[in-house]
Every structure is written in C-alpha cells, then in structure tokens.
C-alpha cells in the first residue's frame, strides 16, 4: 500500500511538472469550454423528445468528457510510451516492485486528474454559466466519469502498446481523439450531424461517454444503459489488446 502511495505521489508530481501535458490536459478543455460558451452560450437546442434547452447544458458535460479523455487517454498513453522508451519501466522491472504497481500508478494518476477536471468543470458550469447538476444526479455523474476514465485508461494503454516511439506518441493520440471530438457531440451537437456519421460515432467510444455524462445534466431522456455498456465494452477491448501487445522494454531492445 505504501508502495502504491509513493508511486502515485511520484507520478502526480512528475505530471504536474510537465508544462506541456498540464496545458493540453487541464487547460485546453477549459479554454475550449470558455470559448464555446462565448460563441454559442446563448443558443438553445431542440432535443429528440422535443424539449428545448440551453446549449450550455450539452457543452459543459461535453468538455468535461474531453478533460477526462485528455487525462486518461492522451496524457496516459504519451507518459507510458515515454517511460517505456527511456528505460524507466525496464529499470523498475529490475527491482522487487510488482508489474501492476506501474500500471496502477498511471491509472490512479489519470483518475485523480480526471476527478480534478470534473470538479473544475462542475464549478465553471455552475458559477459561470448557470448549468447545475441536481444533487440526486451527482452520484451518476461521478460513477460515469469513473467508468469512462477507466475505460479510456485501458484504451490509452492499448494505444501506448501500439505506439512505436516517444516522438510518435503525441501526434498518434491526437489523431485518434480529435476527429472523434467532432463527430461525438463535443465540438458539434450530435443533432446537427448527418445521420450516417452520427450512427458510426455512436458505436465508437467517445459518443457513449458524452451521452452517459450528459444524462446527469439533462435527465430528460431514458437512462443511457446501452451507452454505458458500450463504454465498458470498449474498455475491455482496450484491456485485452493492451495486455496482448504490452512491453516494458524499449523497442530497440
């Protein structure tokens, strides 16, 4: 237990001292939310059921999801590739530390950052944009963010296992995630997508995550159990591929 505390402490310290990851993970989603609110904040959206709501109710959870994915998928895969290629993982594997500790250190670190993002977005949404979550729906929000963060950590491990070099890690992570933000209801409401594109996006991991998190803010529709199941399934796929292809030593070894 002490080992895990020390590992997470060190991983969080290292994370907080890398300005570029800090910017892309923590500040960029916040900047996006502020910009999108400035541009579209006054608009309203007609939901499938006919209800009309302020677009802010969709934007706040959407950028919250972006923050969680940045922490668990983007930052995690870049960090893991970096630790592998610089020999840091190899070195720790030469000590009595168990293998799970290194994975746990990364995943718990990304969960802590994900929760931090949730708090920042909850506060920003509530105080700056008047978008509130009912107390009764908070447990759902926390649970869905945890499930999403763990699923995207598994996918991040998968991406790390498939990434050949430190240089390739940031572009690869962003190439995967940026188009998904566009078609999954983060940058553009899903209602304004062509049907076929929306149908494809609905099967990929980002859209279900957005849908699950949005339900806490807009509980007008039925409970998104199907999306939750899809999110968990994607996490499982990531975990299987990650454990199949994962390596501790640099590629050149």
């Amino acid at each position: 237990m002490n080992m895990l505390v020390e590992q997470v402490r060190a991983d969080l310290l290292a994370f907080s001292r890398r300005p570029e990851t800090l910017f892309f993970t923590v500040f960029l989603p916040v900047i996006f939310l502020v910009l999108f609110e400035a541009i579209f904040g006054g608009q309203s959206v007609t939901l499938a059921g006919g209800d009309v709501i302020a677009q802010s109710y969709l934007q706040v959870p959407a950028f919250m999801v972006m923050g969680v994915i940045s922490a668990s998928f983007v930052a995690l895969s870049i960090t893991v590739v970096n630790r592998r290629e610089t020999g840091i993982f190899k070195r720790v594997r030469g000590t009595p530390a168990p293998a799970w500790l290194l994975i746990a250190g990364q995943v718990v670190t990304s969960l802590v950052i994900a929760l931090l993002m949730v708090i920042v977005m909850l506060a920003l949404g509530s105080f700056a944009y008047g978008v509130r979550v009912e107390i009764g729906h908070l447990p759902w929000l926390v649970a869905s963010v945890l499930v999403g963060a763990i699923a995207f950590s598994c996918l991040g491990m998968m991406l790390a296992a498939l990434t050949p070099s430190t240089e390739a890690a940031p572009p690869l992570a962003n190439v995967v995630v940026l188009p998904l933000y566009f078609i999954s209801g983060v940058f553009v409401p899903v209602e304004s997508l062509p049907t076929w594109l929306g149908n494809i996006a609905a099967l990929l991991p980002v859209a279900p995550f957005v849908k699950v998190a949005t339900w806490a803010y807009v509980p007008a529709t039925t409970m998104p159990w199907r999306s939750l199941g899809l999110l968990i399934a994607w996490g499982a796929i990531g975990l299987i591929i990650a454990s199949w292809r994962f390596r501790w030593t640099p590629r050149r070894d």
């Binding site: 002490n2 020390e6 590992q7 310290l13 290292a14 890398r18 190899k90 070195r91 530390a97 030593t249």
Partner: protein, 303 residues
Amino acid sequence: MQSMPAAISVTGLIKRYGDHQVVDGVDLEVQQGEVFAFLGKNGAGKTTTTEILEGYRTRDGGNVSVIGEDPATAGAEWRAKLGIVLQESRPLGALTVKETLRLFAAYFPNPHTVDDVVRLVGLEEQINQRAGRLSGGQVRRLDVGIALIGRPELVFLDEPTTGFDPEARRQFWDVISGLRDLGTTVFLTTHYMDEAQVLADRVAVLRDGKIAALGTPAELQALRGDVEIRFTLPPGLELAALPALSSQPRLTGGEVRVETTAPTADLAVLCSWAEARGLELPALTVERPTLEDVFLAISGETT
C-alpha cells in the same frame, strides 16, 4: 573460497539472435565481495551477457546462478538483493534526486535512507535538484544511488562511465571504491581498460562472445610481458641503418618501436651506436605495455 558460495556462476552460456551466436559458451565465476570487470569492444556480447544475469533476457543454453538463483525464474525476493544500472536509462527528469530515491526506496523491503545514499554517491549539493537538470556524470551517480538504495548484495553496472570527462570518471571511480568497502559484489562492464585496472580485482575480456582472457589486472598484463623501446627516427636515417637488435624494430608514423625481452642489452647496443655517430635519439622511452595495449591486443583491435 569454498566457505562462501560464488555470487555469480556461469557455465556454457549461449545466446543466439537468429543465426548469430552472440554469446558463445561463456564460463565465469564471480566471488562475493569481488569487483569484477567485464571488458570487450562494442558488440562483443557484454550487455547481452549482463542482461541475462540480471534476468532481463532469456538464454539459449548453459547454466546461470546469480546469488543462488537462476535469473530466468527468480522472483521479487531475489531482485531485492540486486542493484542494476542499465547501459541506457535516464531517471525521470521531473523528479528531484531526493524524490527519485524516495520512490525507489519504497520498492525495497529494507532500504537505506535517502540521505545515506545521497552521501554515498556524493550528490549532497544536488539533493533538491531535478534529475533533468543534472550533468551527465551526476545523473550516472544518481543511477548508482538508485541501484544502491535497496542494500544490494550484488550491483551490476553496464558501461557506467561512457561519455564522461576525466574528472567525472575519477569521481565515479571513488563511488565504486566505496562500494567495495561496503562488501558489495560489483559486476562492471566497460570498454575502458584503465577503469578496469583501477577498480577491478579480476578482469574478463570478451571477444566475439567468448572469454578471451581472464585474470587479475597484473596477470593480464603478464600475458604480454615484453618491454617496448620507442624513439623517433633521427632525420635522414632509414630503419635499415639501425644496429641489429634482439627483435625486429617496427616503424609507425616516424616512431621506431622495438618489442624486446632483453631491454638492457638492446638499449646498450642502441645507445653506443647513437653515441658513436653523435646522434641523439629523440623521445626515447622504455615502457611496459599498459593494460590498454594488452586489452586491445586480446580484444582484437590493432595498436
């Protein structure tokens, strides 16, 4: 010697990559408390052998025992007795010396205190500096500190001083000498002969995956016991003009070299010959070959 089991015992070690036999029947034994240097050119199989001993690589043949266990199957308890400095590894640049050592201490059941290790590797002044801002030599000392934090019985150092300036190398040697005083067994790979000469109790020279020579530095030196007389050929003279000596002189880049087993007689002949002609032999020296020369000869490089 029989009272203490060997720290490392290897017989008939074989490792292949495809058709290429990188390690080709290595036998060696390292005693407890010994500083053992493993020398060879790049590509001789040093790192491959070392990483098999450390448990990172599998082998294709032979028996290996490292502090009483087979590295291929040994577990966490065994790794707690080892300290490993890899050839290519950098500590996390964002963490300070202190934070790095504190993290690694948490991995071991009975670690040294961080302060003790910092003193041992001479990083007191850098203790709160981030690893990313240390010099190359300081990073390597931190690497050794990480290897020492768990109170290892055996420390592996894979080419620890490659790329160091002479000053940094000397400081590093002091750290390794300190390990010897603690009774730690050290297995050191290097391609610097002077390093082995200063640090090692015994030296093995690896050539094309085989042990080409094994012994104390003095024993290795005795393998090529000849003394060499060197001087610059006086202007206007040919090599053929020199008097007959006990062995044939060689001319390399204007310098005459005579490898001899009878240096006194040869020098007498040479000097009276020169004096009779009123010649001065510029840069005249008589030297025993250094261990470096011996190493270069054994490892297959030409002097």
